[in-house]
Point group: C2
DNA sequence: TACTATACGGAGGGCCCCGCCACTTAGCAA
DNA sequence: TTGCTAAGTGGCGGGGCCCTCCGTATAGTA
């Protein structure tokens, strides 16, 4: 008994590819019907493979999220825990600011259907992957006490959302992240 | 020759009142038709008074923005320039996080029709009002060099957007603002 | 009171999301 | 190879929203 029929898998793959382009072109609320049209399938098929818009976003960004998680894991052994955390935060910021729709997806799955499988949603994955970096940095005294991984991810998604309409989102987002890291107030005392 | 007919003024006022409620209830992309229905006017009338959704948002938030600008002006005389700036930033954050749709409106008018009157748009007004506070704080060495009023407003709108779906947006936003002010890295040296 | 520019509302077209259901077809078994 | 069956598909209809156009009503004036 095949888990999924061959044509279904084919359609899934085509839809994912088309969706990626459409979302890159028109943002997180690209037309699902347009995606179906470009993929050469009926609109019901989109809905069958991706029950909600959020599910589609999740699927489209899955690889990218996993790459970021892997990056975090690779940085886990670094001696300089502060540098490791900052490098990862910078990478996440770059992705969130560059890949259209990602930031919105991250904010939205915080408040999606509560019944849904929230274990594997993008923001949960990122949180889980980044947590060790934060903990190690905190233990080293390289992080302001009380700062959590959730705080950091929220700040990053916020920065990405705010810079979305900027001429050069990536640069601006990185700039704002840098400000956030050192703080707006100059180091005193 | 009256600038505007009495019935037009009446409809404008009713629409504004209804729109405020609807936007508070359903966010920045509340249905314009629903607003028209609740106000008891045709949908074309909404469009006549507010050519774009952005124009409607601008009108709805106008008073609040002006209040914030007045607040900034009142703080202009404070001796403690750092405290003055921080108080204002906190006030802006509170508004952006509390009033649904305001943050989105702020990000959107950065990238609205370029031909439109961008002189009086909400973000421009806030920028203009906050600039003196930033300048004075910078002169006092109470602000990290290079930080502009534009940066700060972008950070605040970002924080507001990211905390929108949080159970307690106001508290969370204030918390993130505090982090941003002191910086994620602890003061060193 | 009569007139006119101003403002109004509804109809119609286009696009989209969503759910339903009859039909096709992939993959298995004889 | 040939049927069989359930998984998978696509189109259709309903409802909603946005937007534009155009005939009509009315506020304000002469």
């Amino acid at each position: 008994m095949p888990v999924q029929r061959a044509d279904a898998r084919r359609n899934y793959a085509r839809l994912l590819a088309v969706a990626e382009q459409e979302i890159a072109a028109h943002g997180a609320d690209a037309s699902l019907e347009q995606i179906a049209r470009l993929a050469g399938v009926g609109s019901a098929t989109v809905r069958r493979h991706f029950p909600s818009r959020h599910a589609l976003l999740e699927a489209v960004f899955r690889e990218r999220i996993e790459t970021l998680c892997a990056h975090a894991r690779n940085l886990g052994g670094r001696a300089d825990t502060r540098a490791a955390l900052l490098e990862w935060l910078s990478a996440v910021t770059a992705s969130a600011a560059t890949i259209r729709g990602l930031a919105i997806a991250l904010t939205r799955d915080s408040a999606a259907d509560p019944a849904e499988a929230h274990e594997h949603c993008a923001s949960a994955q990122l949180t889980e992957a980044g947590e060790p970096l934060v903990r190690r940095a905190t233990d080293d005294g390289a992080l302001t006490p009380g700062v959590t991984i959730t705080d950091l991810i929220m700040l990053i998604t916020g920065i990405a959302l705010a810079t979305e309409h900027h001429p050069d989102p990536a640069t601006e987002a990185d700039r704002l992240l840098a400000l956030t890291v050192v703080g707006v107030s100059p180091r005193q005392r």
